[in-house]
Symmetry: D2
Subunit: 384 residues, 4 copies
Amino acid sequence: MPRKVCVVVTARPSYARIKSALKAIAEHPELDLKLVVAASALLSRYGDTLKIIEQDGFDIAARVYMVLEGENLVTSAKSTGIGLVDLASAFDRIEPDIVVTVADRYETLATAIAASYMNIPLAHVQGGEVTGSIDEKVRHAVTKLSNMHFVSTPKAAERVVRMGEDPATVFQTGCPSIDLAASVLGRPGAGFDPVEKYGGVGPDIDISNGYLVALQHPVPTEYEQSRRQVSETLHAVHRLGMPTFWFWPNVDAGSDGTSNAIRAFRETVEAPNIHYFKNMPPEDFLMLVRSSKCILGNSSVAIRECSFLGVPAVNIGSRQHSRERGRNVVDVDHDQQAIVDAVTYHLRNGRPPRDTVYGDGHAGERIANLLAQAPLTIEKRLTY
Amino acid sequence: MPRKVCVVVTARPSYARIKSALKAIAEHPELDLKLVVAASALLSRYGDTLKIIEQDGFDIAARVYMVLEGENLVTSAKSTGIGLVDLASAFDRIEPDIVVTVADRYETLATAIAASYMNIPLAHVQGGEVTGSIDEKVRHAVTKLSNMHFVSTPKAAERVVRMGEDPATVFQTGCPSIDLAASVLGRPGAGFDPVEKYGGVGPDIDISNGYLVALQHPVPTEYEQSRRQVSETLHAVHRLGMPTFWFWPNVDAGSDGTSNAIRAFRETVEAPNIHYFKNMPPEDFLMLVRSSKCILGNSSVAIRECSFLGVPAVNIGSRQHSRERGRNVVDVDHDQQAIVDAVTYHLRNGRPPRDTVYGDGHAGERIANLLAQAPLTIEKRLTY
Amino acid sequence: MPRKVCVVVTARPSYARIKSALKAIAEHPELDLKLVVAASALLSRYGDTLKIIEQDGFDIAARVYMVLEGENLVTSAKSTGIGLVDLASAFDRIEPDIVVTVADRYETLATAIAASYMNIPLAHVQGGEVTGSIDEKVRHAVTKLSNMHFVSTPKAAERVVRMGEDPATVFQTGCPSIDLAASVLGRPGAGFDPVEKYGGVGPDIDISNGYLVALQHPVPTEYEQSRRQVSETLHAVHRLGMPTFWFWPNVDAGSDGTSNAIRAFRETVEAPNIHYFKNMPPEDFLMLVRSSKCILGNSSVAIRECSFLGVPAVNIGSRQHSRERGRNVVDVDHDQQAIVDAVTYHLRNGRPPRDTVYGDGHAGERIANLLAQAPLTIEKRLTY
Amino acid sequence: MPRKVCVVVTARPSYARIKSALKAIAEHPELDLKLVVAASALLSRYGDTLKIIEQDGFDIAARVYMVLEGENLVTSAKSTGIGLVDLASAFDRIEPDIVVTVADRYETLATAIAASYMNIPLAHVQGGEVTGSIDEKVRHAVTKLSNMHFVSTPKAAERVVRMGEDPATVFQTGCPSIDLAASVLGRPGAGFDPVEKYGGVGPDIDISNGYLVALQHPVPTEYEQSRRQVSETLHAVHRLGMPTFWFWPNVDAGSDGTSNAIRAFRETVEAPNIHYFKNMPPEDFLMLVRSSKCILGNSSVAIRECSFLGVPAVNIGSRQHSRERGRNVVDVDHDQQAIVDAVTYHLRNGRPPRDTVYGDGHAGERIANLLAQAPLTIEKRLTY
């Protein structure tokens, strides 16, 4: 009988990140994919990830509503609790042989706890990376609850082992998000008009001479500053004057500060060069990024996928602090002038060489094969 | 203004373990103790810990009901979620400067997540120990969420540091449970009659020539076997024929198996030498243990407090696997004959020397002082 | 396509009460039964109703754990909330055409709210009855949320209509619990030995000259008094000296008081005439009751099934206050002497005539037919 | 000792409705107000009711986050469950002598259940009214859980009594929302510029020759149609061309349909006569309404406060179906032309006479006095 693999997807970016693995699991003869869609992935105001998933042809085994409104620190904690309660019911019904959890969002811990407490082997994708902030606490806590580790980079593998995990359970598969980047790498861009396809709001912008992509998430431990921080970036983009596609942040404690700042900016500043998108499917997003002159903000896409794609990136603030990076990244503070300078530097210097530190484009298959073959155990102990 | 220190106590043994620190915090001029009582510590069938706490003179800042009935793996997971939801409300109202979580029970993770997500510095007591089983997953996950580590033994300190925690945040305070053991060490035992004071059920037993203490918890990852395992111990005690005080287990996934086995044993076997207690305050429990000829079962008390007290211990099964131990412990399987042999061995050889591997009796003061003086931060990153 | 009928069973007595309807629904060609088992029906310490349901051949569509430990008023309220959260997920997945809720236990309201808010037509079994206590609040609140009313007695029908419900939605089907009573009515009792079949605890009792059945539930609004009340009944039974089968109460706020009182009684009084059962399947329970000399306590079985069976009943205290009754019932206070007198009266006077006020034994079929044919609507308004 | 009265406010309109009673309770020497703010009243995107409450000088006894994102029927049900879980903790801590719940929103039932199950007397404001839709189910279910009824109109009083409530517990106090209307009635409007004070979005509009106020909520049982329905009203207002203040709806299952429709309208239609507000404090809202030429939509304000104020109203669709009304109301379907005609009719005919069917402006004091003097009981039974 095929192993039942239950993957929990809680957000738009996690879906993009895991999609190639989902496909490989669904197609693997010895695996039976059970996909649970949860948290902001169910909510239309974070980009209707559910609809995208269904359009991609995946069956949904359970929907887990868990985002408690408030967008503050209390409700983040409570949301995780609500998710844990519901995920336990879902696992009780689905009876998976393995649960897979992705990355480091706060809801991830709900998946990890439900699986651990219910004696279901837990596989973690993207452990061992360092970034600072609450995300990192969550990521390493999930590592300590996991039985299998599918890591992206050599350093991530090394860190997971140093944290006391059995090396036999640590697999450097590369990141499945790079698989997606690999799939768009050679695709012809001609005929792809993002505004025509996705609408968005704001002025029409002429991108025939190149454009920027901006994407800035709130940083939970700097809650109060979210508003000011995103404002620096918005004004920098305004000053650069270059056509820019700005993407709305996904949900998080603090996103309210960021969202409010964006709304406030839109209502006070006439920025003829900024067009806003809420969301688009990951492939089209990567297509857009691939052909951009530069990406800026604090998204991990700038570090990970863009190193593989060879897209120049300006990384702002502490959110991606200490993530491994290729040569495509320039780091700056939340400072309008510094952002302008860094983008200008990139525009002058053009595209950097491609780099496979985060994967070679075959992570999904590797993960599926390991899920089919690796011994299943819930026992573990520190190696020291 | 004194720092508000919120300690969450979720079970009878955790209370015993942290009590000396609670006292030191309550008495510290720069600290304001906020005690949250949660989970089985609120339930009369696990020994009315709440009442004991109130009798000890502590004020209760919040009561958090979270034990969902079912005593299976699903309800353990859901209980943690329910606790997380309620603890977040409690912290939102109490606004602590520090949250303290104790040990490794599954509910501990609810406390750790609520504090972490709400940007409250988290202190963990008893990190870095290794025992196998789900407890260990939880303990190390809590370590990864914590900002301060109050550890018991040199090896525990070393492990926490190796897991990537900043050595400046790791304090080898010793275990506060040893403080309690220290306080009963010199107390006169004369006049203490446990049956007169606590009743219990079962036959009157004559303890004038010595007695045993037995205490066996279910082991979550061996859920199905709980019933058989405790049965081996019960029959061993029956065969030994020596007067024995048997303590009821505290709540856990699987405790139903254990409790049922005890009930079944009582109804089928006439064991004139076993008297049952549900619970007693930690001091009196330690008094009872201190004067016993031998403790048997799988409680950590046998390893920790009894190494300090110099009480012979027979440790049964995997629950305390790989915990550091003094010379008072003999380890055996869940095997009736082996248990009988090990107890007999101890009875022949008498008391081993006392050992301070788990502390010197001053952990509580050290913890209170550190809570008052240590820098408060929620930021952390791996040291490698 | 057959209508999906989702019935939520939350307790042992509710299952007994609805069983004949479940059977009729399962066998009806135009209905598709989806059985949700929830609350104490999932818990072994309330009689393993889940196992009984499975043995009866029903498939379980969902298990909803919702009983929060504490057995006090706070946890009753919280349990209902937890159940509501989980039932909403279950209904979201099952997508029933109709939800059926039974009687008046506090969890019933969770079912009713989930269905109402999710725009699923709600059918209520046993509305319109009056009993006093919180149960009554719940029962009439459920009536106001329901779209179809399957009531037991003419007066119940009248009351539901007077509360403003459309008479076209009120059906006097009789109570399905009477169907079960009808099925055991003519069954030969020879060869049925309850102690041999179910064990129980306490002394062997000789029932060849007749026996009593006792069953007393805690009354939530008289929480503090539960302990004293059940004690009166226990001592009365002790004094009567007649062989008695005593049944353990089901879960409720306050059951702790009752359970503790029973335990205390057992440990202090040597009552050679009382044998205790935790539970038995409804048919066997009714067989036992049918052949008893008298039933006493505050169970509704004494009023409902026993009026149909013609079994003398002593109804103690306020729990069944103002329920319609046949001529088999004598009412008394929580008073030892009064209980003794009433039982003695019955023993002298023998069996009363049978009465069909609560149904004629065909409620289940009627309910199934109505569920298959009645128009489905979620709209309703007061008729005045 | 003064009675502790715990009032739970869950939404902007409920606050407006109960405010005069809150004031009277806070000022009453024999009452101690404990105000719990919950649900959308805590959320900035529904108008920062919390901030308004604090500015009005009330202390907050507890904040209860309970709105689960999704804005569909499942999440409405789950939100109520989450609220119930948290409210029970809040009541456990606050220990109120009476709980007061307002009106008929879905969350109201959470308050009512928590209080009922915890044996706290429950007072309900605005019972007995009929409106159709799920609201009505909830309102009458709350009536069945309540011990005291503070109703607005003579017919409401009659209905509550006919539903079987003891007439001695039914008090026709009038609606406290009318108290607020009474307080703005004579206030000078000069100098009040809503756009200057509250901003809002959309074009500047010249209101010197009069203006309209529009406010349309989604109707849960007509979920799919919300989008189309509000669109009819928007286009009607656009055609009327008269300066209009449009108010954003409060949260509800379906509000997403309504909100989306408004957003879509704004992005496709250039409506130079519509200015949008998210919210304003109730007094200023009533000031604005008082001086308007006509109010349109489906808000109860049009029926209740506006009958007292004598403001012409066009009531659209089924939401206020069968509410008692004064002579100020014209009812129409969700039909653009009918809406235009009805507004035009009112503009031609001017202001209708004032009417006190919903109260005389002294409800708050009456409620406070009754809360201080009425006997407190949790017992109740049907009167028939």
